[in-house]
Symmetry: C2
Subunit: 496 residues, 2 copies
């Protein structure tokens, strides 16, 4: 009975598959896994503890890393020791080291031992949470830690999965914002029937590029970047005027985005003011708190949340300033029904009893992704390793160091801050002008000990110092200050 030949079966493959067993040993040799795993744990500890002795950004020319890699993939297995050696010899010398204690560029990618281990645990378990039943603990832990964070951060009770809203973990603020934009589009479509080409998204001129990108990817025809005040926060009056103009012009206002901590200078848009305009015209209101959202774990920052009860969706990135390695972004919605309406379709191979009962959350119907890694482990490990008090302490010391640096800059004749320091980003220029500002940044980055970003605002360059790398201690900020304190005085702008 078994083994009967059937005409429609394709011909047998290689007859002697067992000869391949040796080739396949690397898949199931767990003694080797233990040994290689210990070695890699040690390698990471050695990398991180010796990082301060390397340049923050290795000097690399385009193509230099690739030139060291073999043109063709290997045909036969290589030992783990070769891979580890190439990490040292090829990969590390081609990195900008985001974990370096002198990393002040972009925003921090603050991480922690707990988060790294959670990432490993997630990889080891190898489960995924597309629907509740595809591995229930994946969904329930995600529900639970995001409900924890609502409490820890003083956010609206309605955002809990146990209430009308709920949170999910995505790959980043770009994904979170894209989901928000799609929700704004669908809300407007239902209300007005307008084509998306005639819909408008509003954000401040200082909004992150992910807002414009998300709007564009969602198909919106118009993105309006609204005036900001002297502190680079959106002016609700200007927003109201822009909306009125668009309505007169026959367009359909669909979504407004408030930045809680812009990327440029961590300016905070008036969430209530934007929310009132959004509510008046039935727009979706999204808050981008990608960086500064982490600070809400401390009560003294929560005045920035005023009006947050008017918000439809809110994103913050634990992978920036909450000791959690990339990727991990939180998106909360105040009401999950429109989210699920916008994001779900239900194929037969994903139907099951639990889903049909309506007693569980199937995150595939909330998210862009179907396959979803067990990211909640990272937040769970991190929150437990540090406790809420530990997380507050990190936010507070980074902010304190940034304010101390701000005070020093304010006291320096050649330096001028261009924006307040509500969190741990300091934005400043050289008073001698753009060339001096650029030259100062170049001097800083050329040390190899610190790395800052030069950005532009209103067409003028300025230096961003973002404090928050895990390994940064106060003395790193102090020595950085000593360097700019002296360089700012002695520095000559480069010859043209």
């Amino acid at each position: 009975m078994a083994g009967t030949e059937q005409p429609d079966l394709e011909p047998d493959l290689e007859p002697d598959l067992e000869a391949d067993l040796e080739l396949l040993a690397p898949l199931t040799d767990f003694d080797a896994f233990r040994e290689n795993g210990y070695a890699l744990i040690d390698w990471i500890a050695d990398y991180l503890t010796s990082l301060g002795q390397r340049p923050v950004c290795e000097p690399v020319e385009p193509g230099e890393v690739r030139a060291q890699l073999p043109v063709a993939a290997p045909q036969l297995p290589e030992p783990f020791s070769s891979v580890l050696a190439d990490l040292d010899d090829v990969i590390v010398p081609g990195l900008a080291h985001w974990q370096h204690p002198g990393w002040f560029a972009y925003f921090p990618a603050m991480t922690s031992p707990a988060s790294m281990l959670a990432e490993l645990a997630s990889a080891g378990l190898g489960v995924q949470g597309m629907i509740w039943s595809s591995s229930p603990a994946v969904t329930e832990l995600e529900n639970h830690v995001l409900d924890w964070l609502v409490d820890l951060m003083g956010l609206p009770e309605a955002w809990k999965t146990t209430s009308r809203g709920g949170g999910l973990l995505t790959s980043g603020a770009s994904a979170s914002t894209l989901i928000a934009m799609i929700n704004g589009r669908e809300k407007c479509r239902k209300r007005t029937g307008a084509p998306v080409e005639q819909m408008v998204v509003y954000a401040s001129s200082q909004a992150h590029s992910s807002v414009e990108k998300g709007a564009r990817l969602a198909g919106f025809g118009h993105v309006r970047l609204i005036d900001v005040d002297d502190e680079f926060a959106l002016r609700p009056q200007s927003l109201a005027e822009a909306v009125s103009q668009d309505l007169v012009g026959g367009l359909s206002p669909a979504a407004a985005v408030s930045a809680l901590g812009t990327t440029g200078t961590t300016a905070v848009d008036p969430v209530r003011g934007v929310g009132e305009v959004a509510a008046r015209w039935g727009m979706w209101h999204h808050v981008d708190a990608a960086y500064a959202g982490s600070a809400m774990v401390c009560e003294e920052f929560r005045h920035h949340l005023a009006g947050v009860e008017l918000v439809d969706s809110y994103t913050f990135n634990p992978h920036k300033w909450f000791a959690t390695n990339l990727d991990c972004s939180v998106l909360w919605v105040a009401d999950r029904v429109p989210l699920i309406d916008a994001m779900s379709i239900d194929p037969p191979y994903l139907r099951n009893e639990a889903t049909d009962s309506g007693r569980v959350i199937d995150y595939r119907n909330w998210d862009l992704s179907l396959g979803r890694p067990f990211r909640a482990l990272k937040l769970w490990f991190v929150i437990r390793a540090l406790g809420a008090e530990g997380l507050r302490a990190t936010i507070r010391r980074h902010t304190q160091w940034a304010r101390d640096l701000s005070a020093r800059i304010d006291g320096h004749l050649c330096l001028r801050r261009i924006a307040p320091t509500p969190f741990a980003l300091v934005s400043f220029v050289h008073t001698a002008g753009d060339a001096a500002t650029r030259a100062l940044a170049t001097a800083v980055n050329d040390t190899g000990r610190y790395f800052v970003t030069v950005s532009e605002i209103e067409g003028r360059p300025y230096i961003r110092v973002a404090i928050g790398a895990t390994l940064t201690a106060r003395h790193h900020v102090d020595s950085f200050w000593q360097f700019i304190n002296e360089s700012a005085v002695t520095l000559r702008p480069p010859e043209k």
Copy 2:
């Protein structure tokens, strides 16, 4: 000079920050990291090697996992040993174990020790590749391993980053397909100026839900699911007719998707036939090879690629059947210029010399995401650990076992396959009808030793057996066969 008070500075935070140092020890205690890391490596090895003794799916009721977690997050740090104990006591008993040797559900989430370690290395390095200069090796390794795979899989030379096209790594086929849909929309917009509400996407009635979802998220007004033939592959003639009808109806055909291995039965759409229709009407042609793409590492499967030179984009998921843990999806495009046109905007804080020179790839301009983890490490570790020959051996043995199982099913009086077995998925029914098919699946899953998915095709249930878990050996498939061989005969459909 330093420390001068300025009126616009916010008040000092906690004065005694150093008292928090103990709280912060978990961030930088690398001795503890080593110890906890070894313990977790051992925990994972123990979990995976003992997994066969657990039920494939733990019996869990909705809410059961959450009920075991504290209502509030901890205020103070907890030791790693507590977290590890809770993994055992709370998390593991709430999982469906995708790595179990009896996991035959959905598609495999095949992983490997090399991939898990690469995930750990990526977390430990903590760098990210939004642009080349944000950590050059991240981008260059991604370029390089995806070019390797073009060669390893016999794909068009033009898809290499060194040629006109290129590959990128995304979080999954949903993200990859959404990018493809957005490209289809923009291509159609440029050509026709039609609003997206009047644009149409075409795929077979057997296409994965991510196609319909991607089209919907991209804003498309219409998705046409085209007839399939007896083997569940799209009929190009039906596609051509649907396109003609839509043109007559004033709509704008924008994109067509070929499945290379459908989720339902791994049917292969005729890529050339679809490609010719797409080319004729200027549509974007995307190939979804999420599962079966991995098999292209073996030459004997490449006849399925006929016509692939007519493709605009192509996705496959190493996290399904290429020994790489979630998440890791590849998207290739034949021409990167329209991709970059559709996906890029350039804010000032991301400008830099390397980007301006045009000599590097900035993946942020290819991807949905800005922040991008170092996923290429996973493919690099996996390809080196197994070699191309090792990867081929895994594909070949899984396919051989599936074909052996198919032959046995074909020889059984009470069982009938409903589709060919071109890869390692076997689709069959009980000849006594739908109730018997469902009862057989329930009997299988109730053993706790195996787990299969029941899906539906043309309104009728059938059993999907997807072979490909890393720990599955031939004897697991043999004992599974013994069980269904006997159960199919003795089984009585349940009373109504």
